[in-house]
């Protein structure tokens, strides 16, 4: 993690971490079941304990998991959502579909005028 928080750097680390299916699997398992050790995770994922340990190191560097003391001398890893929430801002900007909303506004106004015209015509006919 950069010492001075930089929103782009944080988001980039999150997307790099998420680009790998094994790391997505680890994060999904931590999100679903809560803090776990590398051994716990290896039991539920089709990856070796060694590979999981390597990915956990990378995820910890990106700030996506935090190591905490578990039972005995085993290290438990806990999901940290802060960097993900920063990346979510980037996704929110991409997902904000003003083009579609403004098209809906235009259609709404056209429809309102069309129905008003219809009402007027009806009044005229009767």
């Amino acid at each position: 993690m950069p010492s001075r928080p930089d929103i782009e750097a944080v988001a980039e680390e999150v997307f790099t971490a998420l680009a790998d299916p094994s790391r997505r699997g680890i994060l999904a398992a931590l999100a679903a079941r809560g803090p776990a050790t590398a051994t716990d995770l290896a039991a539920g994922l089709p990856i070796s304990r060694q590979a999981i340990a390597k990915h956990l190191g990378l995820l910890a560097e990106a700030g996506l998991v935090a190591a905490e003391p578990g039972e005995g001398r085993r290290i438990r890893y806990r999901l940290r959502s802060a960097p993900i929430q920063v990346a979510q801002q980037f996704l929110a900007a991409l997902a904000r579909d003003w083009d579609r909303e403004l098209e809906a506004l235009r259609e709404h106004l056209d429809a309102a005028v069309a129905s008003a015209t219809q009402e007027t015509n009806k009044g005229w006919e009767s």
Binding site: R78, A93, R96, W98, E101
Partner: protein
């Protein structure tokens, strides 16, 4: 990578500003073209809400009401937790044209950091379920004692 902070769109609408103003500032308008239902207290500092049949909800705080030219509000960033202090600012600007209205919508604030840097600001409220469940256990222990 380039983090977009500000989104801006302009559309030409073949209806006068008064009609467009009404569509973007009334419960009837907002609840038709934007949400599936809406409520609005149209004054700076007032609250507005839109709901969708999907169960989604948007809560807005109104900032600028200058009929019929400027309507601005803030709302939460989609995907962030309900209590997150970060909000984007949305502004509708209406300009009369020969054929109707030029409507510009800008939404800014996507690239803001929470106050105090993201690590410090989040550490407190993302202890998450582990601490919430810890508090529940303590509460139950206390009332049983």
């Amino acid at each position: 990578m380039g983090f977009p902070d500000r989104i801006e769109r302009t559309v030409e609408i073949a209806h006068p500003p008064a009609k467009v103003w009404s569509a973007v500032t009334t419960a009837e308008g907002l609840g038709t073209w934007f949400g599936n239902a809406a409520s609005i207290d149209l004054r700076p500092g007032g609250a507005a809400e839109m709901t969708w049949t999907s169960g989604e909800k948007a809560s807005m705080r109104i900032e600028r009401v200058e009929e019929p030219t400027v309507f601005g509000f803030t709302w939460g960033i989609s995907g962030l937790p309900d209590g997150d202090p970060r909000r984007t600012y949305v502004e509708f600007k209406l300009e009369p044209t020969d054929t109707g209205t030029r409507l510009t919508v800008t939404e800014s604030g996507f690239a803001q950091l929470p106050e105090g840097g993201h690590r410090a600001a989040f550490e407190g409220n993302t202890e998450g379920w582990a601490s919430e469940l810890g508090e529940l256990v303590e509460y139950l222990d206390a009332i049983a004692a």
